[in-house]
Amino acid sequence: METGKTGKKKILLVDDEEDFCFFMKKNLEGTNEFQVITATEGREGIDLARKERPDLILLDIVMPGVSGVDMADALLNDPETKQIPIIFLTAVVAEGEMDGNPVTKIGGRNFIAKTVGIKKIIAFIKEVLEKQVL
């Protein structure tokens, strides 16, 4: 599952909560398996995705301006970025609606509740990345 010069997977994290980005970046990079770039706006996220071509995008849904859903649509309509897997981060959806799972797939899209522990988040990221390779 290695990529790039560093041998680490490149993850783009887009969330308007700066502190969330800060801690997530530290947690993910602390595993030595990921390199994390962050954006706090959807517009900036689209630009970074095109420029940096990350292996995976962690994307907040509710953001001011360009929302996570708008951003995902923009990336899907762009042949250069449409293959990048996206995991939506949500603070709104209840576990009950995600079939009792804090990480799940609904309608072909990946969702993860933001309050899930980092270990589960990492496991889900790896699962999505592995499927991408296949």
Partner: protein, 376 residues
């Protein structure tokens, strides 16, 4: 004017209805005491209008039976004043000088009935019971409306709260998880502090999950379903918690499949909440029975009725709390043990299915929830 804080809405449901009889004729007052005072009602008396006003201010009576012509202040004025102070009180007028005009005026002022003297005790008895029955229905209706209002308010708030609280919660959790890695070489105490913070983040998050579940119970996905299978599943889901509390669960379900129409997930959640609530009421162990059967002869509208009973041997619910158990945020559990939303979610789910749920309880013996669902 000071209105009653504790009115007939919050009265203990097993308490006898209280009736104030205001008449300047001592014989009439004694007659009421003798005829009705022993068995079903608490009878109080007043010898004139002023005494009636004073007593009605001191106590939230269910019913005022009053002569129109009394010394001092007349009955119509008393009626007006008493209703201002206690809008739920019912009034029956008795008079030795009946006229159509007087009767119309009294009824317009909100009197329930108008009876002329001399009267037959059976006539009075019938008037009292139908008047109290009407009052009971009105109170039930109003309580329902209040509850619907409260629930709608909670539903509206829930999604907004979820987003606003979960974001900082997620930040706290990710920060603590980072500290956990950075401080991994520290002593056991540090690890314990971190676990405590994480546990409390989870606790706050669970409240949000419950709130969201609560607000989303309004979206029904109806389908034909086998209620016995659904109950089996809900029992299995609750079994872990029951084992931890040393609670034995017993099922008595029909062998044949019973089909009802409803939202499978929501109904399973409602029964699961009920079972967990019962298990929580038995911290030192006990028994939980889940019974289901068709109720012969009964119909809700044109549909047959399926009755499910959930009975525990827990500590029971005091009578004055029984009417509040389905209210959002009403809880008797310790902080951190319950949000007070579990049973109101249950109530809301059944209501959305046009089903009914009621609770019977005896303190020290246990509680029984009786659910009536429409069977297809």
């Amino acid at each position: 004017m000071q209105k009653f804080n504790k009115n007939i809405f919050t009265k203990n449901p097993v308490e006898k209805p209280s009736i104030l009889v205001a008449d300047d004729d001592k014989i009439i007052r004694q007659l009421f005491k003798r005829a009705f005072g022993e068995k079903n009602y608490n009878i109080y008396t007043a010898k004139d209008g002023y005494a009636a006003l004073r007593k009605a201010k001191e106590k939230p009576f269910n019913l005022l039976i009053m002569d129109l012509k009394m010394p001092g202040i007349n009955g119509v004025d008393v009626l007006e004043e008493v209703k201002k102070n206690n809008p739920h009180i019912e009034v029956i007028i008795i008079t030795g000088y009946p006229t159509v005009e007087l009767a119309v005026e009294a009824i317009k002022m909100g009197a329930f009935d108008f009876i002329s003297k001399p009267f037959d005790i059976k006539r009075i008895s019938f008037a009292i019971s139908s008047c109290l029955e009407k009052q009971k229905l009105n109170i039930k209706k109003q309580n329902r409306l209040i509850q619907i209002e409260k629930m709608a308010a909670v539903g509206k708030l829930a999604s907004g709260i979820a987003h606003e609280i979960r974001n900082p919660l997620a930040i706290i959790l990710k920060g603590v998880e980072l500290l956990e890695v950075n401080l991994s070489g520290e002593d056991g105490a540090t690890k314990e502090y971190i676990e405590k913070i994480k546990w409390n983040v989870e606790r706050a998050n669970n409240i949000i999950v419950e709130l969201l579940n609560f607000s989303r119970t309004s979206e029904l996905k109806q389908q034909p379903l086998n209620i016995c299978k659904l109950l089996d599943e809900a029992v299995d889901l609750a079994r872990n918690q029951a084992n931890l509390n040393n609670v034995t669960m017993s099922k008595d379900l029909p062998k044949k499949e019973v089909r009802i129409k409803g939202d499978y997930n929501l109904l399973r959640q409602a029964f699961f909440n009920l079972f967990i609530n019962a298990v929580d009421a038995m911290p030192k162990g006990g028994k939980l029975w889940i019974r289901a059967c068709r109720e012969k002869e009964s119909r809700i509208g044109k549909s047959k009725v399926m009755v499910v009973e959930v009975e525990d041997t827990g500590k029971g619910i005091p009578h004055d709390e029984l009417s509040k158990i389905f209210d959002p945020f009403f809880t008797t559990k310790q902080p951190g043990k319950g949000t007070g939303l579990g049973l109101s979610i249950v109530h809301l789910i059944f209501e959305r299915h046009k089903a009914t749920i009621k609770a019977e309880s005896q303190q020290g013996k246990g509680t029984k929830f009786i659910i009536r669902l429409l069977a297809s």
